[in-house]
Symmetry: C2
Subunit: 216 residues, 2 copies
Amino acid sequence: MDCVVFGYDDGDLKVMLIQRKLKPFKGNWALPGGSVRLDETLDEAARRELVEESGLNNVYLEQLYTVGDIKRDPRERVVTVAYYALVKLVGHNVQASTDAENAAWFSVNDVPKLAFDHQRILDKAFERLKGKVRYEPIGFELLPGKFALSELQHLYEVCLEEKLDKRNFRKKILGMGLLIGTGEIQKDVAHRAARLYRFDMKKYRQIKKRGFSFWL
Amino acid sequence: MDCVVFGYDDGDLKVMLIQRKLKPFKGNWALPGGSVRLDETLDEAARRELVEESGLNNVYLEQLYTVGDIKRDPRERVVTVAYYALVKLVGHNVQASTDAENAAWFSVNDVPKLAFDHQRILDKAFERLKGKVRYEPIGFELLPGKFALSELQHLYEVCLEEKLDKRNFRKKILGMGLLIGTGEIQKDVAHRAARLYRFDMKKYRQIKKRGFSFWL
DNA sequence: TATCTTTGTGTAATATAAACACAAAGAAGT
DNA sequence: ACTTCTTTGTGTTTATATTACACAAAGATA
């Protein structure tokens, strides 16, 4: 079980990596992961690992795919189920390192050489995120509960690797009626403060049942 | 490893099932599947199973997801990687049964009670097919090499579970420039014979690289 | 020759997406 | 107090894509 943990911080999409302390690829950076216990489902295992390695609870988690190439682990044949997670870095004050393991966040576009086939898994996870962020409102999982529209737009630009038009973006996202103005505004910014919104997940789930589809 | 094998025949989307000869769920219908050997990748295992159980070679095959619920097999904890396959039933004259196993094709909308959690897997596979058929040209994997536009449209209607407008469908699919008229027409039909087309996979792969995206 | 089913074709109306610029808020510096 | 700077917030026009819709002719059958 391996997990690609994405976070968004400082206007940049990050991924959490840990430095291996054990033999194959010792010292290399790798995706956090572990073994699935006999008394837990795959999803439970992924969630447990996430708590153990990052202290993060209650995050968006989704199965990615399963890799079973014969030589992916030099020692023996290892099949791994890969997951990816989206976590709210800002404000959550994540301790990236637990267990005395060396863990850190890297920009997805500037990742060191990874152990095993973890780069391939990371690529696949990013691709999935890129595809899914358009038709499911998962981008919000990476932002704090309250955010400015410009932050949301920038997140989308990073995930999609493409520039978006400000007015069209706002028209579309506000037109869906899923953002609620909190009445609050940004603080401690060196320019005009933007209004803060939150995503109305409850409403989304309701209208989704009635055939609404998110699209950006 | 389990595999959801879809076929399209008689204007209907079918799925291949085998009747279990062994203990848990003996006599019940189930998805074809088997164990992954130590010297083969997951994809190879799926392909091998497919040949063994249906004689089918060279089919579209894709990993679906991995299920690891604790009690899905009453005997012990079994994790299975589910695949789905799209096969050209018409003309290929598939022997659905090999191995003295009892195998048969069922309409996806009229499936008997399945062993294990196979109904869930089937549902998930159908959902994936439904989603993917719109943005990847995988529908053609279910049709014979040469087909009439009305057949293609009907296949899409079955996969998407929605009626399509004939003129708009033809406009769009022909407009992509990926169908080649073979010059041939239908034979042995009790009405005006339709022109036959084939899908230009080579061209698709080329223009896909240049950013073209299939959409229906 | 009449009947039946299915093919093959175009246009107008509507909806969606894309392109585009500027005034005002508010913090920082002078 | 004033100027400068960065960022917010807002509509309209144009182009493109999607939807809705009907009928003549092909060819098999009786």
